[in-house]
Symmetry: C2
Subunit: 146 residues, 2 copies
DNA sequence: ACTTCCGGTCCACATCATCCACGACGCCCT
DNA sequence: AGGGCGTCGTGGATGATGTGGACCGGAAGT
């Protein structure tokens, strides 16, 4: 993991459709060498996957909310219960008064309410506190520091 | 935007390196037709970009925190002030007692503290409340409903 | 019923990813 | 200091893939 790798990661985060020849030129390597670097980054799981960013509003998920989930029991093994709710985009165990923080996307606030209902059905969940996002300034890839 | 488009979005979210021939077969179309569908999805900004998911820990951002930012003024025009802090991965205006919710990734808790300091330097910011994530259950693409 | 248009298939070509043999550089061991 | 070796990059060959164009069929509108 040197500066060249970090620069490649940056370039790929920007646009993963670029040809290796272009990537190579950008970092001062041949296409073959750039390809080999990226292959190793994939192999070592530094690059988890190549994906596509979808406009949430275009697929009927225009409402974004963060929900603090309170619990009366240990939630550390309930990951799959949360993953089973497709509207949940992220779920994290957190330090602090709540136990779990989830990021939810739905089409309407009614659907958000239904998600909260399904959260309550998870054993151990004793309460929720939802916060709706009114506007998103930005959502961007992890900074690589390069 | 029909079911075929949604299925293509799903497939691409899973793995955007697949050949169009494969994508086409998966949805019952020729490679050319699949290509045309995807081209239009890109053109219409339903697909915002093709990118690469990077393991945060591998690039020195193993600490994840969510910060509620309180303010004494209207924050709606301060998006760029937040965007200028590279450790911020997301920033949203929220409804509720706080004004802005940000998602932060740093290498250490000391660096997290430094980010909080920089948040305070934004005019109008009157307080912060940070919550550290201990474990991430999952982070996944937006559900397309397909 | 004719026209038009959208969306599909099929095909051909240019581009690109991918693999391999070779060479340069730096490091360790004797 | 010299020699061997492992790592990393280069350049070219080749086969797969993206990409554009010509053609076709069905649906909708006049």
């Amino acid at each position: 993991m040197d500066d060249v790798d970090r620069k490649l990661l940056n370039l790929l985060q920007e646009d993963a459709t670029q040809a290796y020849a272009v990537l190579g030129k950008a970092v001062g390597l041949s296409a073959g060498a750039a390809h080999e670097r990226v292959r190793k980054l994939r192999e070592s799981e530094v690059i988890r996957r190549t994906t596509v960013e979808v406009d949430p509003a275009a697929v009927g998920s225009g409402v974004l909310a963060f929900v603090m989930v309170d619990s009366s029991a240990w939630m550390g093994d309930s990951g799959e219960r949360f993953a089973a709710i497709p509207e949940l985009q992220e779920a994290h165990i957190i330090a602090g008064s709540a136990s779990v923080l989830v990021k939810v996307r739905t089409g309407t606030t009614e659907q958000l309410q239904d998600v909260l209902r399904r959260l309550y059905e998870i054993e151990g969940v004793s309460g929720t506190q939802a916060t709706v996002a009114l506007e998103t300034f930005f959502e961007r890839p992890v900074s690589t520091g390069a």
